[in-house]
């Protein structure tokens, strides 16, 4: 039992160990310089990421409270990878920050919460993981300690998450009331689609909707994204969304098969609303962070198209897309984060003439945006189209037509940024930015991922084969 426990909870234990190491470092008397501290943490995160690929095991713990298998491990690896990239990217910002260990402790606590959430086999476990992943995030949003907007963002975040957690909890209790169990496997057998269950399901979806900022639960997103430090924004938009979507794909998806019809209708409507509203709002944004916030809302709409498919192709396309989304969105955020940390400029107009001064960064941002827009040969093309293939599998072509047209709309605002960078002239464009090697590595990983994961079919085929096993 003890060794099995070590293997099965390896990912969680690794994170916990890192948190404790940081805690001891903080408590120790010797002051560590920020640079060396950051490098140290990044090495730890790298080890953490690498460890995820070895000794993969599957099984249950604590009476099916906790479960893991190859697919869940893979999802955790994706999140680890994303966290490492974000950590590398925020080097400039954290270099001059007073509370580096605290930042990482909070960040990794949320990651730990997400891991428990993904691995949960029980509603209680799921809820605990969710809360662990949410509450530190609010503190993280406030991490630009001397900015008012940052505190404002944190406040909005904590209120909206509390509200959505309330909805989830209500849904969970109703579900418990109607099925008499918290265990997912048993819930599945007890579901019969009566009104109470449908209602609890609606509440659950609403709670999830808040977390992934699907329309109409998206209103907190833009303000929080704009106010938070860029590192936290990218974490929110990629990792925390990705985790919830993983839970939806690999946990809830199997639980609610009995009421798949209402599942489909709801996801269908939310997905259309999310795509359209996200796109329409993104059209007019000037602040780059707000712009990416709305574009990421629209992206969630596309992900929901794949989620609505209820097939192996659908689930694998969602997981695959999240991997690509990690690369693409973090590539874009990486550039914006470097620019914002060094020059403080965040507006789209500031990016006019960016190509003249920073050609390489421009290409990185352009490639990431093309990938988000779904332009080949970037991976985003494959990700998006597999989502839509899967979504069409149900025979609902209306959804696909709407999604395809939305891709054109979204292309417009991505191209607006491209146009500003490449084509517009600007007297006082952003000066030449000198980045350290850490953000450069992060950007290289993103660009490499964008260019390779699509053309090389390995990632998708692997995910598909894992999903076909269960």
């Amino acid at each position: 039992m003890p060794t099995e426990f070590l293997y099965l909870m390896k990912a969680e234990l690794m994170i916990t160990v890192i948190i404790f190491i940081l805690l001891f470092l903080k408590l120790g008397n010797k002051e560590m310089k920020n640079e060396s501290m950051l490098n140290f943490v990044n090495i730890l995160l790298l080890i953490n990421l690498a460890s995820g690929f070895f000794y993969i095991s599957k099984g249950n713990l604590f009476g099916e409270m906790f479960r893991t298998n190859e697919l869940i491990t893979l999802e955790k690896n994706f999140l680890n990878l994303g966290t490492l990239i974000i950590s590398l990217q925020s080097y400039h910002w954290l270099k001059n920050h007073k509370h580096v260990p605290e930042f990482y402790m909070l960040l990794l606590s949320t990651l730990l919460g997400m891991f428990f959430m993904i691995s949960s086999g029980n509603l209680l476990m799921f809820y605990l993981g969710l809360e662990l992943s949410t509450i530190p995030l609010a503190a993280l949003s406030n991490f630009d300690l001397d900015k008012r907007r940052s505190s404002e963002a944190a406040f909005k975040m904590i209120i909206s998450s509390a509200f959505s957690s309330g909805l989830l909890l209500f849904g969970i209790s109703l579900l418990y009331g109607s099925t008499g169990t918290l265990n997912f496997a048993e819930i599945t057998t007890q579901l019969n689609g009566n009104a109470l269950q449908i209602f609890s399901f609606i509440l659950l979806i609403a709670g999830f909707g808040f977390k992934i900022s699907a329309v109409p639960f998206h209103l907190w997103t833009a303000d929080v994204y704009e106010g938070s430090p860029v590192a936290v924004t990218s974490y929110l938009s990629v990792i925390s969304k990705g985790a919830i979507l993983f839970v939806m794909v690999s946990v809830f998806y199997n639980v609610f098969t009995a009421i798949s019809n209402s599942w489909y209708n709801m996801i269908f409507l939310i997905s259309i609303a999310t795509m359209i509203i996200g796109n329409l709002f993104a059209l007019r944004q000037q602040n780059m962070k707000r712009f990416l916030a709305f574009s990421s809302i629209a992206q969630v709409g596309f992900i929901l198209v794949g989620l609505s498919a209820q097939s192996i192709a659908g689930s694998s396309s969602v997981i695959y897309f999240i991997l690509i989304y990690i690369f693409s969105n973090l590539g874009a955020f990486g550039v914006i984060s470097s620019v914002s940390a060094i020059t403080g400029k965040e507006n789209m107009n500031d990016y006019k003439g960016f190509y003249k001064t920073n050609p390489l960064l421009t290409w990185v941002l352009a490639i990431s945006l093309f990938s988000l827009a779904g332009i080949p040969p970037m991976a985003g093309f494959f990700g998006k189209f597999f989502l839509l293939f899967a979504g069409a599998g149900k025979g609902n072509y209306l959804l696909i037509v709407i999604a395809a047209l939305n891709m054109v709309v979204s292309l417009y605002y991505y191209l607006k940024v491209i146009k500003a960078m490449f084509m517009d002239a600007n007297e006082n464009s952003i000066e030449k930015i000198k980045t350290n090697w850490q953000p450069k590595i992060a950007l290289a990983i993103c660009v490499g991922g964008i260019l390779i994961t699509g053309i090389a079919s390995g990632a998708y085929n692997y995910i598909h084969s894992l999903l076909s096993m269960y």
Binding site: A313, S316, P376, P377, L388, V408, L411, I418, K419
Partner: protein
């Protein structure tokens, strides 16, 4: 012969110019690369003839099929028939001419040549694909380079035009995508699996009611690329704002992607629907032909003249496709090749004139023949080809389309043919007017620029290359005809299955 070379070679060329900074090195590498492309295209032609003359009657030659995304049954499947080879030859010609014409691009030259070559990757990939997903992949690869080429190196209201072009073409490809998904999900390889393979789908007889739903998506989607009325509005703006080489690529290659797609995907895979909707296609194509021609008459800017005349000429392609007879479709393919060469030549000339006089307004030009005899002669040749003078490719192609169209005894088709024929008169009016005003008459140049030198060596080569193509088709059309006919026959096997009602 491995067809993937056609993708790898331009890609490698594009990548190998990245380390260099200097314009001279960059353009030299691009020139070598695009020259190798031309050689490759001719080698392909040679091998193809060898294979055909030794009795190989397979539908597609040099096929390669690799599994790409196994769970979705997506393959990288390439192969060529005569139609694709004609298109590949056209592309190779235009790429080389385009590189030659852009010899002196000072601004961001590395990026310029990179994007040109990258665009050609998309075009080659599109023409050799036999898998709908791969085909769509390459179709979209070719869109964004156009946006950047126009937006960065263009002139006039370039940002607007670039955005309009990118959005319209992406809108077109979104429609294509919906159509392709619809086709895909209604295929069945026997064990419940779906397929993207063009040759397999062609054998499958998709149910007519399904074809009727998805044919409009695919046809209109590709039609946007091929300037189908009323989705042609990106053409004038895009062409006129683009830098010379990009205009050549746009008109010469990019619009052909649309025509080829309409033919290979829409009509070939959904013949029932093609018959059902052929009257719509014919009406729209006739409108485009006439409207384009009349709109050209009103233009005063040389690039707009050529852009609108492209709408008119590309109308012949769609008209030929809509007629659905063997001769008409052969004519449509010929018109694609002919129009590609001719319009590229036109744009090259306009670019040369603009470089020297800094104006494209007809009113400010005159008597250029006195100062620039070579450019002016080329301009006249392009004009004569455009108005369909025998001896040039335009005549051959248009006559083939008309003959194919006339094979229908129905009065509707005949009227459409007559209307299309009538546009040639209008063409003659605007071509002769433009030529007469700009080339002949008293010397008149804006700003009294005395330094009107004649074409440089690179421009001469570019023009000669395209003229060789035009004349080779014009004088000896049989080789192109023989090349295309087997391909058309394959198409007709599917299209002709449906007896016309």
């Amino acid at each position: 012969m491995n067809l993937s070379l056609l993708i790898i070679l331009p890609l490698l060329t594009a990548l190998s110019i990245l380390p260099f900074k200097d314009l001279r090195q960059v353009r030299l590498i691009s020139l070598i690369g695009s020259f190798l492309q031309l050689i490759l295209a001719f080698t392909l032609l040679y091998f193809y003839w060898n294979a055909r003359s030794s009795g190989n009657t397979a539908i597609m030659l040099f096929e390669n099929n690799y599994t790409w995304y196994a769970p979705l049954n997506i393959n990288y499947h390439v192969g060529v028939d005569g139609i694709s080879i004609a298109m590949i030859l056209l592309t190779a010609f235009i790429v080389l001419a385009g590189v030659l014409v852009s010899w002196n691009v000072e601004k961001l030259s590395k990026e310029f040549f990179f994007l040109l070559l990258f665009l050609s990757v998309g075009a080659y990939g599109f023409f050799i694909s036999l898998d709908l997903f791969t085909l769509f992949f390459f179709l979209e690869v070719a869109v964004i380079p156009k946006f950047l080429l126009i937006g960065i190196w263009g002139s006039g209201k370039k940002e607007y035009s670039a955005m309009k072009l990118a959005l319209m073409l992406m809108g077109g490809s979104a429609l294509v995508f919906v159509g392709l998904i619809g086709l895909y999900l209604n295929t069945n390889t026997g064990n419940g699996e779906h397929t993207f393979d063009i040759l397999q789908i062609a054998q499958m007889n998709i149910a007519p009611q399904i074809q009727k739903v998805f044919f409009p998506f695919v046809f209109i989607g590709f039609g946007v690329f091929g300037a189908l009325f009323p989705f042609h509005t990106w053409v004038p703006d895009g062409h006129s704002s683009a830098p010379t080489a990009a205009s050549m690529f746009l008109a010469g290659i990019s619009m052909k992607l649309g025509g080829y797609g309409c033919l290979r995907v829409a009509t070939f895979l959904m013949p029932d629907a093609a018959h059902e909707y052929s009257w719509v296609i014919i009406v729209l194509a006739s409108i485009a032909i006439l409207y384009g021609a009349f709109a050209t008459m009103m233009q005063t800017d040389l690039k707009y003249i050529n852009a609108y005349s492209s709408v008119s000429h590309c109308g012949f392609v769609l008209l030929g496709i809509g007629m659905l007879t063997k001769t008409a479709i052969t004519g449509a393919v010929m018109q694609m090749v002919s129009h590609g060469l001719m319009t590229a030549l036109f744009f090259a000339c306009i670019g040369m004139i603009y470089d020297r006089t800094h104006t494209r307004q007809l009113a400010q030009l005159g008597g250029l023949m006195k100062m620039m005899p070579f450019i002016s002669t080329v301009f006249v040749i392009a004009g004569l080809c455009s108005l369909g003078l025998p001896g040039f490719s335009g005549f051959v192609a248009e006559v083939t389309v008309f003959m194919g169209s006339w094979q229908h005894a129905d009065s509707f088709y005949r009227i459409a043919t007559i209307v299309a024929c009538a546009s040639i008169v209008v063409t003659a009016v605007y071509i002769l007017r433009a030529v007469g005003k700009a080339i002949m008459g008293p010397l008149q140049v804006a700003g009294n620029n005395p330094l009107l030198t004649d074409a440089r060596w690179n421009e001469k080569w570019a023009a000669s290359l395209l003229i060789i193509g035009i004349v080779a088709i014009g004088i000896a059309p049989f080789w192109l005809n023989d090349l295309i006919i087997p391909g058309t026959e394959t198409l007709m096997k599917n299209i002709g299955k449906i007896v016309y009602r």
